[in-house]
């Protein structure tokens, strides 16, 4: 062997010191594990004691409600297609709210994320400011914004759309700027060297690199927003959520309608997921997908 070093360290002494280190590490991870289990158990007991009912007592009833919903829906399965037709317009409204708010949120997030990325920002001194703005947009729950706007503007899809777009801007802005941080700056330097403006540099140097990841996050957000827009219906923002709130209340005998709406939401999410993965593949691998 060309470079066996004979520094006087024997394999035995290396083994011993390594074994000592391993024992110390095992001790630490053992202690961490015990502390973790103790915290979980004591925390659970505390939470259970503050619970209005009883966790263990209520657990046996856990599946009562879902089974009632499913059995009632199953017994009226023949009416499901009719319900699909009835509630399809509400689903379209819900998906529309989600689509518009995702689009607006993603466009705002594009600008804000570029302004919030170190190395790319137009005004480096404003990075902190833009980031705090994004934090605030993420921190306020969309349902709070929707309630305030419904109070001001009255019920309907517009308050829900604004509320979701606001939250989406904050969430996507953060994710986009993390993608931007991994972008290669060499093309930007190249464009800068020919005298391009900041917008031109971003448009031609950065966006082609980050677009597939951005699209991927945006489509994921679209799925989340479909669910969010359904929930905002509960507070009077229209769409499927409003109908669902009425159908799902206990003891009205309308669980078949609730079941139909859940199925429609589930199918919508599946379809969006399929379309988005197909679009992502096209964007990252090109049309034929043969350039692997």
């Amino acid at each position: 062997m060309a470079d066996i070093t004979s520094s006087g360290v024997t394999p035995q002494s290396i083994t011993e010191s390594y074994l000592q280190e391993i024992k110390r590490k095992r001790l630490y991870s053992g202690i961490t594990l015990v502390v973790f289990i103790l915290l979980m158990v004591s925390g659970f007991n505390l939470a259970a004691s503050r619970n209005g009912g009883s966790f263990w007592g209520g657990l046996s009833n856990f599946f009562d409600y879902p089974s009632e919903v499913v059995s009632e829906a199953a017994s009226k399965a023949s009416e499901l297609p009719a319900h699909f037709v009835t509630y399809f317009p509400a689903l379209v409204e819900t998906v529309n709210i989600a689509a518009v708010s995702t689009l607006i949120g993603a466009l705002l997030a594009t600008v804000l994320s570029l302004l919030a990325t170190r190395g790319l920002a137009r005004w480096p001194w404003a990075i902190g400011l833009v980031r705090r703005v994004l934090d605030i947009m993420r921190a306020v729950p969309d349902i709070v914004i929707a309630l305030i706007l419904i109070f001001i503007l009255g019920g309907g899809p517009v308050p829900a759309m604004i509320a979701i777009a606001f939250h989406t801007t904050g969430a996507l802005g953060k994710l986009f700027s993390e993608v931007n941080e991994n972008a290669d700056l060499k093309p930007v330097d190249g464009l800068k060297s020919v005298g391009a403006t900041w917008t031109q540099q971003m448009l031609l140097g950065v966006i082609p690199q980050v677009a597939p990841n951005w699209l991927s996050y945006t489509l994921l957000r679209f799925e989340i927003n479909i669910r969010a827009s359904a929930i905002l219906g509960f507070v009077g923002a229209g769409g499927l959520g409003y109908e669902l709130k009425n159908a799902i209340s206990w003891g009205q005998g309308r669980y078949d309608e609730a079941g139909a709406m859940f199925l429609m939401l589930f199918l919508t999410i599946v379809i969006v997921d399929q379309i988005s993965s197909a679009m992502r593949n096209r964007l990252t691998h090109g049309d034929g997908g043969l350039h692997a």
Binding site: M1, A2, D3, I4, T5, S7, V9, P11, I14, T15, S17, Y18, L19, E21, I22, K25, R26, S29
Partner: protein, 270 residues
């Protein structure tokens, strides 16, 4: 001992390996040479069952390896160690842990999760590292090591598996000539001292000639040469690489001192 029988791999319409057939009677050091894209890596990955074959079979000591599934397939993989061009270590874990990964097939997921390797295994791992001359790197993270050292850690992981075959996929292609020599000598020594079979993909002719007992040449997925290093004439090499009369063996060499300036000049201007 090892029989490869009409082994074929197709990716879509492209045939990577076409009907490869050869037999190894006793443990030997075998070099597979050929241009990039000739199907060398695919052949090795199929023997390890990392890549599924399209047709054909692999028989080792009377057992049809290609028919194995699940746990028995993983047992075969533990007996058939693999060394990669890019080392394929876990960069953030220390060297000894990386070597101990060679025992994963014998250990449960639970003991792996809590890092509970037996002390005997740990001292054996450090013993193997000492044999390869890198025992003092034991507690360091794998990513802190040089390429040559990392490849020796990968060899140590392979030895920890106590394998019957070691497959080496371009083990020296990412190394400088000095480290390449250290790694090839280590592989040769493992073959001679432990009597393990070694199958190595090599991209240079002189390495194959110098270290191997048998050379297999591949071109466009087909085996076009199978013989001893002595039978590997310049003409045969030209066939394997599909090169013209200007082909100079020295120009592909990684040996120190193989290429003097006159040769280099001739190779460039030819």
């Amino acid at each position: 001992m090892l029989e490869i029988d009409h082994l074929t791999k197709r990716f879509g319409t492209k045939t990577a390996v076409q009907s490869a057939t050869f037999t190894v009677e006793k443990p030997a050091m075998i070099g597979i040479i050929g241009r990039s894209g000739a199907g060398k890596s695919t052949l090795l990955r199929m023997i390890n069952r990392l890549t599924a074959e399209t047709e054909g079979k692999i028989v080792f000591e009377g057992e049809d390896v290609t028919a194995l599934k699940g746990a028995s397939k993983r047992r075969w993989q533990s007996e058939c160690a693999m060394i990669f061009q890019q080392f394929n270590l876990v960069p953030r874990m220390d060297v000894v842990s990386n070597v101990l990964h060679g025992t994963l097939n014998r250990r449960s997921t639970f003991t792996t999760l809590f890092n509970l390797y037996p002390d005997d295994d740990i001292s054996q791992a450090i013993g193997i590292l000492d044999r390869l001359g890198i025992a003092e790197q034991a507690p360091k993270r794998a990513e802190a090591l040089s390429g040559g050292q990392q490849q020796r850690v990968a060899i140590a992981r392979a030895l920890m598996q106590d394998p019957k075959i070691i497959l080496a996929d371009e083990p020296i292609a990412s190394l400088d000539p000095m480290n390449a020599q250290v790694v090839m000598e280590a592989l040769r020594r493992i073959h001679e001292e432990d009597g393990r079979m070694i199958v190595a993909n090599l991209h240079t002719l002189d390495t194959a000639r110098r270290y191997c007992d048998r050379v297999i040449g591949m071109r466009d997925g087909k085996i076009v040469f199978d013989g001893t290093p002595e039978q590997l004439t310049t003409g045969a090499a030209r066939d394997i690489y599909g090169a013209g009369a200007d082909f100079s063996e020295a120009a592909t060499s990684t040996e120190i001192g193989a290429l003097d300036r006159a040769d280099a000049h001739a190779a460039v201007t030819a």
